[in-house]
């Protein structure tokens, strides 16, 4: 077997040295009732070629984003990742190394984590950022728990325009941890009154930027209102590329910024692995979950990097830890760092502008279709449209025409009275031809509907 170096001769000699006769003698502590005599009922080993055959067959059944006009967003975005990024993350020393607990022989990992943290700080406008979390949704859940710890309160006010999956994560953590959540009733347009929901037991207010329907809002006023009432403002950024063009949450006064870094360096991957971003004000540093990489010097006075402030973490604080998190997103944060480095600030701004231009062109075209209304007044690369028929139905019809036309709101928010609303994203990966195909396909589909 190609992954096992030991030969039968090796095994025999090793058993001798250990002083037992068979391998079974080493499993002697297993209760007899649980001992298995032979292999479990699953297929036997396969060659690379055989495995490839099986997996090719599964992969071939899926419609991929690069092969058809593609407009899905809702928290995961199709962007072009430069070829060198994938090459960098496949370097043996990055791919097959462990968490940098022995800093002398993991300066490679530690240095890029320091670069990552700096990039996240600069993008979000916040002074400290950690070395990444699993993804944007769990980072947001952790942010809420952190706000509860800091304020010693138990209730969070959540915008109704937060991604429903992110909301689900917060609801779950709150339910399990004995905390409360509250949200305003909402519709797609109009301004939510989040401030009215704040009470003496509220720790934080959570908003998304741009929000789930793509809408962009300046949260500076909300930040002041929230903070004057002793609460923290948590701003969630699911499309990190938007910060190439938009005012930074840190400059609006956010206390904590969480986000999804998938758009930089990481492909769609059917939902994972992604990379959670987490940044906060300096005064909250010690309440931050996750790993932190810090600068120091070695015994020879040379600059180096180490994981630091680990005593907040579970392996030391145990039941008093700030969270139970053990991993960060390692390789995904490296991909982010590498892509961001290749772009530079100027490149990111350019990329963001390109995204916005595509989305505006698409909105222009779709608005021109009878029965279609663009309901998001200000957006980055994703907006919501109202259709004259259920969006799920339209999306299925578009798929049959080989257009992946977006994400129906009802897929994530079933009881919201928004069955006719579709989220549409356009990025630099879309060509002008794609936009025309979409327009034509949607016109065709809608003709069939109103008939």
């Amino acid at each position: 077997m190609r992954y096992l170096p030991l030969t039968p001769t090796d095994r025999g000699a090793m058993l001798s040295r250990i002083g037992v006769n068979t391998i079974d003698d080493l499993f002697i502590d297993v209760p007899e009732a649980a001992r298995l005599d032979g292999p479990i009922n699953l297929p036997p080993h396969q060659s690379e070629m055989q495995v490839e055959r099986d997996l090719f067959a599964m992969a071939a059944q899926n419609k991929t984003a690069s092969t058809v006009p593609f407009f899905c967003g809702a928290g995961a975005y199709k962007h072009h990742v430069p070829a060198s990024v994938d090459h960098i993350i496949q370097r043996s020393e990055f791919l097959t190394s462990y968490t940098p607990y022995q800093p002398e022989i993991t300066q490679g990992t530690l240095q890029y984590l320091f670069e990552f943290q700096t990039q996240v700080c600069e993008l979000t406008g916040m002074p400290v950022a950690n070395a990444s979390m699993y993804d944007g949704s769990t980072a947001t859940g952790e942010a809420v728990l952190m706000a509860h710890r800091i304020t010693r309160k138990k209730r969070a006010v959540i915008s109704a325009r937060l991604h429903p999956h992110y909301r689900g994560v917060i609801d779950n953590l709150s339910d399990m941890g004995g905390f409360d959540v509250a949200s305003p009733a909402d519709s797609v347009n109009g301004v939510e009154d989040l401030i009215a929901l704040i009470d003496e037991d509220t720790s934080s207010v959570v908003v998304q930027y741009p929000d789930f329907f793509g809408n962009i809002m300046d949260y500076s006023t909300i930040a002041r209102e929230v903070q004057s009432r002793g609460c923290l403002l948590i701003v969630v950024v699911p499309e990190i590329i938007s910060l190439g063009l938009l005012k930074r949450p840190g400059d609006m006064g956010a206390d904590i910024v969480t986000g999804e870094g998938q758009s930089l360096g990481n492909g769609l991957n059917f939902g994972g692995p992604y990379v959670g971003l987490f940044a906060a004000k300096e005064k909250y540093l010690r309440q931050m979950p996750g790993r932190l990489c810090g600068e120091t010097v070695d015994a020879d006075g040379k600059r180096g990097f180490v994981l630091t402030l680990s005593t907040r973490e579970q392996h030391i604080r145990r039941d008093k830890a700030t969270s139970n998190i053990c991993t960060n997103s390692g390789l995904c944060s490296l991909a982010f760092t590498a892509h961001m480095t290749l772009l530079g600030g100027q490149g990111l701004r350019h990329l963001a502008a390109l995204n916005h231009a595509r989305a505006v062109h698409l909105a222009d075209k779709l608005e021109g279709i009878a029965g279609v209304e663009v309901v998001t007044p200000a957006f980055f690369n994703e907006f919501a449209i109202r259709l004259p028929a259920p969006a799920e139905q339209i999306v299925e019809a578009l798929a049959e025409k080989s257009v992946l036309g977006g994400v129906p709101v009802s897929r994530l928010m079933p009881d919201s009275d928004m069955d006719d609303v579709l989220l549409v994203a356009a990025t630099e990966a879309n060509t002008e031809a794609d936009l025309e195909i979409y327009e034509t396909a949607l016109r065709d589909v809608l003709k069939g509907v109103s008939a």
Binding site: R286, L309, T311, I316, R317, K320
Partner: protein
């Protein structure tokens, strides 16, 4: 009054009706280099044996427990900028906080210097 000691390596020294609390030399040695101290705010009520402060070193974080019940008067804010004081001068300058003692009888539960020295010796 001479210092009294707890099993968790806190010392308490009474100055009138004000008590000063710190951790012992043994404790700071076990912890290693102290990097951060989390102090209670003035006015907080504490009960004997409950968490009052947290002391963090590079490899460990430990609770500092209130040796007696009462109200926190003053945290030693110097420790915020110079946590190393806890290592350098645990018995004096590295004090953590002062407090009003609500029940002086609780002091009788604690060890005196000699008893504490024996206790530490046994820990090996």
């Amino acid at each position: 009054m001479s210092k009294k000691f707890t099993k968790d390596h806190e010392w308490i020294s009474l100055e009138g009706d004000l008590a000063r609390i710190g951790i012992t030399d043994y404790a700071q040695e076990q912890l290693g280099d102290v990097v951060f101290v989390e102090l209670p705010e003035a006015g907080r009520q504490v009960e004997q044996g409950n968490d009052a402060a947290v002391v963090e070193s590079v490899k460990a974080a430990s609770e500092v427990y209130a040796p007696v019940s009462g109200e926190i008067v003053e945290p030693n804010v110097k420790l915020e900028d110079e946590p190393a004081l806890v290592n350098q001068d645990p018995a004096e300058g590295g004090w953590f906080f002062t407090m009003k003692v609500s029940n002086p009888d609780e002091l009788n539960d604690l060890m005196d210097e000699a008893a504490y020295a024996d206790y530490v010796k046994e820990l090996g």
